[in-house]
Symmetry: C2
């Protein structure tokens, strides 16, 4: 059998459907229908739904069908505030704990992002953006922090993706990333804190703008393009 359990595969599949907009916010996820649609039984589908609920992508209601989460702007902003604090902490810890190899990987991702910024589509561009932030978090050498941060990244995936699609902002983002890289390499905790904070502040502004243009439901239609879109990995189980 496959190395992953069925429930995890289903969670991955549903997560893609939600994040790419194929499952609209507020849509019902009936256990019988969905499991039949995927050709599996209800048991692993139920488990998958709980996984997604713990990531904030699905809302559980007592004795009622789970629905695709439809967070309000306040909830998204609240999540961003928390993720901001986690990223600042991660960056500061990375200043202290990152190995030379990790700094190289971060630098390489930044340079790749610079290289493709003119030509890449939103999807490929965003993939590198995600990898950049995730690598910094990993360099903190704090597994709990990395897990929690990953969870917030997942639930903020869609708003972040939409914001990253604003091509006019790419120069600023790249400049800030460059400053963060500089701060990490020189192990300047004050600098990285300021830059991460500023980075998030712009993100909040952009997402607020987008949200006010498309108050509820789908800001922008289904994400098309390559199906090889990186589905965020579910939080790794920690083998203590």
């Amino acid at each position: 059998m496959n190395d992953n359990t069925l429930a995890e595969q289903i969670a991955d599949s549903l997560r893609r459907d939600i994040l790419l907009g194929r499952l609209a916010p507020g849509a019902l996820i009936k256990e019988r229908d969905s499991s039949a649609g995927l050709g599996v039984s209800r048991t692993p589908l139920r488990e998958a739904i709980r996984i997604l609920a713990s990531e904030g992508l699905v809302t559980l209601r007592p004795s009622r069908s789970p629905i695709v989460a439809n967070p309000s702007l306040k909830e998204i902003t609240d999540d961003l505030v928390v993720m901001n604090a986690l990223e600042i902490l991660a960056a500061r810890l990375a200043c202290m704990n990152a190995t030379a190899g990790e700094l190289d990987r971060i630098t390489a991702l930044h340079e790749e992002m610079l290289a493709i910024s003119d030509t890449a589509d939103a999807v490929s561009y965003f993939e590198v953006d995600m990898a950049f932030h995730r690598t910094i978090t990993a360099a903190s050498h704090n597994l709990s922090l990395a897990d929690t941060h990953r969870s917030y990244m997942a639930r903020l995936w869609r708003p972040r993706f939409l914001a990253a699609s604003l091509r006019r902002d790419r120069p600023r983002v790249l400049r800030q990333h460059g400053d963060i890289v500089q701060g990490l390499i020189s192990r300047d905790m004050g600098l990285v804190s300021r830059e991460v904070e500023s980075h998030t502040r712009h993100l909040v502004t952009n997402i607020t703008d987008l949200y006010e243009r498309h108050p509820n439901g789908q800001p922008g239609e289904t994400v098309t393009g390559q199906a090889a879109m990186e589905p965020p990995r579910d939080p790794a189980l920690r083998p203590h």
Copy 2:
């Protein structure tokens, strides 16, 4: 039937067993045996185990029995670092957002703690301590932050409880709590940040001491006394 689902009740029960030390760190939780022992079927027990795993109290291993988590000192310290950041953020937000009523509740809890500090047993004392910190987090008016913080409180419950049992530290803890209350009331974000940080630093020291005296497994035997011990509520489902 009861208002809570069976899986949640099982999770509550297992959580109490783990946190009070009735289930030793590293102990196997076999699905068949445990479910039979509780007189329920495997399905809700499985779900309960996933809940506890998401709280970090149980470790899942592929195709092997789940075991009670047995975190290393580094993992506990890592968790404390994250919780510290979350508490600082919560306290700063509470400075901005707390209502007068919430500040009153926080003050009342602090005064209750002062009143019972000489007479109370470890369990009752710790209950108030938990409530104090949880109320501050709630006053941040950021639900995600409160949930995430609650999760870290849960997984750090046992080390925190053992540290709080050190009676010699109570005067310092009470003084720091008083400073935090003052900072909140005067909405002085700098003050509360410093005090929360210092609070956590002492906690890390105490837990490190305890851990080095009892490296693995049980530092201190099963918690006895009243069975009415507050079992931490599982993270509330957020009705968006």
